[in-house]
Symmetry: C2
Subunit: 405 residues, 2 copies
């Protein structure tokens, strides 16, 4: 299967329009209401936060998505509509109904998504005015996709989009998406707000299965701070406009689709990690040759979550002891006399041997750049796991001490 990266986001696949507008939900002069709209009802799948405190839009969407068909998503930043009780649920429902009315589509086919401060009611007048404004600006262009992406950003410093093309049954299929990430990212099932569209023809059941597989190695492998939010959601809409034979079972077509979807998921996941709150460095943690898959995942995740390891990356300090200690308390089998730790291509610790001055100089060089690969080779088996993460900087504390209530 050959996958080709292309530019664009939610408008890359045929059959989708988007818009993003400023509606003063929280701040002046920035986009904060987005619409993603399909030409016709699409097969749809979604994965939501496993947090017991789920936001109103998540509670609402869980019901909608069970129907398997979606035509529009209304999203806003600046207000999470979480911990807002019955009234908040009604706000979510009302915004979906109003969107359906404005677009002339079935209210059963509209999802809503919110991100921002917890415990505040949605400013419904401004949200609905923004939705109407966005509906009038819907377009099938890269600019429209980017405007929608900008409207879902919170503390994100960069827009995050990715798109790929592949061939399925002789037809060119496109998968594209956008997401917001930044803080509160420790995906466990779902993670953040993600919107992926495709023109592949896929049944809702196979779409759910594909999304689960792709998320398992992309969004679910991003760690910023270990906090899982109340609003995390990833949506996947398939228009079928590519004209491929409907994917309704496992097989080569399904595998090709999952591969393309995973490529988009991983590209978005890496962008999220690199733009983690206050991040100065994108870090990829790779645990190799673990005894079991669970050991590999646990060790990699523990390293990526360790504040001590993360601050050492920020300080450009090859403190491999913290990395190995995190693997050690993860629950994974670790035998320190067999293990190795690398920063980039340079080893820091090798089966009991510790870096000397010459090796330390190499290590410090590896830590200077904006990207760092930290590898732990456990030499106990054949399993591996990669986590996409970032360092922990002074700015993380600044951002989160000052973010408002």
């Amino acid at each position: 299967m050959s996958i080709r990266k292309i530019s664009g986001g939610v408008c890359a696949a045929r059959g989708f329009k988007a818009a993003g507008v400023p509606a003063k939900i929280k701040y002046e002069g920035r986009n904060d209401v987005a619409l993603v709209v399909a030409d016709a009802p699409c097969a749809a799948a979604a994965v939501f936060t496993t947090n017991a405190v789920a936001a109103a839009p998540v509670l609402y969407d869980r019901v909608v998505v069970k129907g398997g068909k979606v035509q529009a998503i209304l999203a806003n930043s600046g207000c999470a509509n979480a911990c807002t009780g019955e009234a908040g649920y009604k706000d979510a429902e009302l915004s979906a109904l109003a969107t359906a009315g404005e677009l002339g589509i079935s209210p059963k086919h509209v999802l809503v998504a919110s991100t921002g401060v917890i415990g505040r009611r949605l400013p419904m007048d401004r949200l609905l005015a923004g939705m109407k404004d966005a509906a009038g600006k819907l377009a099938r262009s890269e600019e429209a996709g980017l405007a929608a992406e900008k409207a879902v950003m919170t503390t994100d410093t960069k827009p995050k989009q990715a798109a790929v093309q592949t061939k399925i049954g002789g037809k060119t299929v496109t998968v594209g998406g956008m997401c917001k990430g930044s803080g509160m990212i420790e995906p466990n099932m779902a993670t953040m707000l993600g919107f992926i569209t495709t023109d592949a023809a896929v049944t809702p059941a196979m779409l759910r299965r594909a999304l689960k597989l792709a998320i398992a190695v992309s969004f679910n492998h991003v760690v910023v701070d270990g906090d899982e939010s109340t609003n995390d959601s990833v949506f996947l809409l398939a228009s079928g406009a590519a004209g491929n034979a409907v994917i309704d079972k496992a097989g080569a077509d399904f595998d090709a689709f999952v591969e393309a979807l995973t490529a988009v998921g991983v590209a978005l996941a890496k962008q999220m990690a690199a733009d983690g709150e206050g991040a100065t460095k994108y870090v990829e943690v790779r645990v190799k040759n673990a005894k079991t898959q669970r050991d590999a995942d646990r060790a990699a995740r523990a390293i990526a979550k360790s504040p001590l390891a993360k601050t050492s990356w920020f300080g450009k300090d090859p403190n491999w002891g913290r990395v190995l200690a995190a693997a050690g308390y993860s629950g994974a089998q670790v035998v320190d006399r067999k293990a190795e730790v690398f920063y980039g291509k340079a080893w820091a610790y090798r089966k009991g041997q510790v870096a000397d001055a010459a090796q330390l100089a190499k290590l410090e060089k590896e830590m200077q750049g904006p990207e760092l690969v930290v590898t732990v080779d456990l030499h106990l088996g054949t399993y591996e796991s990669t986590i996409f993460t970032c360092d922990f900087s002074l700015d993380y504390v600044h951002i989160n001490a000052d973010y408002t209530t």
Copy 2:
């Protein structure tokens, strides 16, 4: 049972001497080698890190403590003697043997403890010179106890000691201790370096049981950054000098002893949390009325570990949404419409109701001081849990980005 707080640390109980001296293990002009020595072999118990990457002194001590008798502990800061392989194990063994020789006691009764940088060999010449120096300065005084405590501190900014007295079978029993904490604190069984002495007469078996009970609600309820170290150890030595009838089974005497031991453990635990790396605020997280004990523990721990909650405490921001969200992803049952969140005595969130401007003013007032109690009332059952923790400040990042390799 009435428990009375008294001053002092490891020398508070009868039968123990201590000393702390500077030996240039890592830095100039500060104590870094300590001895705690009993007049005769004591009943002993210890709890060690569960980290799979355990330091050489931990591996060595596990064997020694199985004998149930200990007379001396040699401790150093500046070098953890972790990930140092066979050679590091021999260093630990040799320092215990040398200490026994210097003190004229059995080498089977000597424990060793190290804290500091991982992956460096102990500077044996300086360590042994320091040990001899300390042996010559052993004294039964508060000053000697404090000198020993200062020698085990790393990034600790304050010495941590606590002592209490109680009556057991008509005799006055004293329990006293010292500890080092600061970073890398997420106790799971053991936590940091803790040294507790008592003049109670207790069998090794009952001492182990008492230590386990006391640690479960004290050291194991401290969270600073969620990292469990390679060296965490808590030692408990009982001289029997109080002259009480030997505690060799469960009953009133055992309960009284556990109560006194727990009081010392909790006092040390709170000091550790308050002096967490970079902490500007001591925070006590209380989860009340959880459905199960496990739910209460999980929710309190998740809140105490959440970087988002911790940075909001640093920023004096009553961001209860992050607190409730952390409870939500902890795995505990949480129903946000039934829950309440308090900062000090002021409520921030009450069963769907959110603080208005007047209430926010009260909340901001509660967050100004050096101590903060964050309470989450789940209203789902009768179980509760308290975690001792601190905020997450800019200085945490400074300290850990700059701490050396």
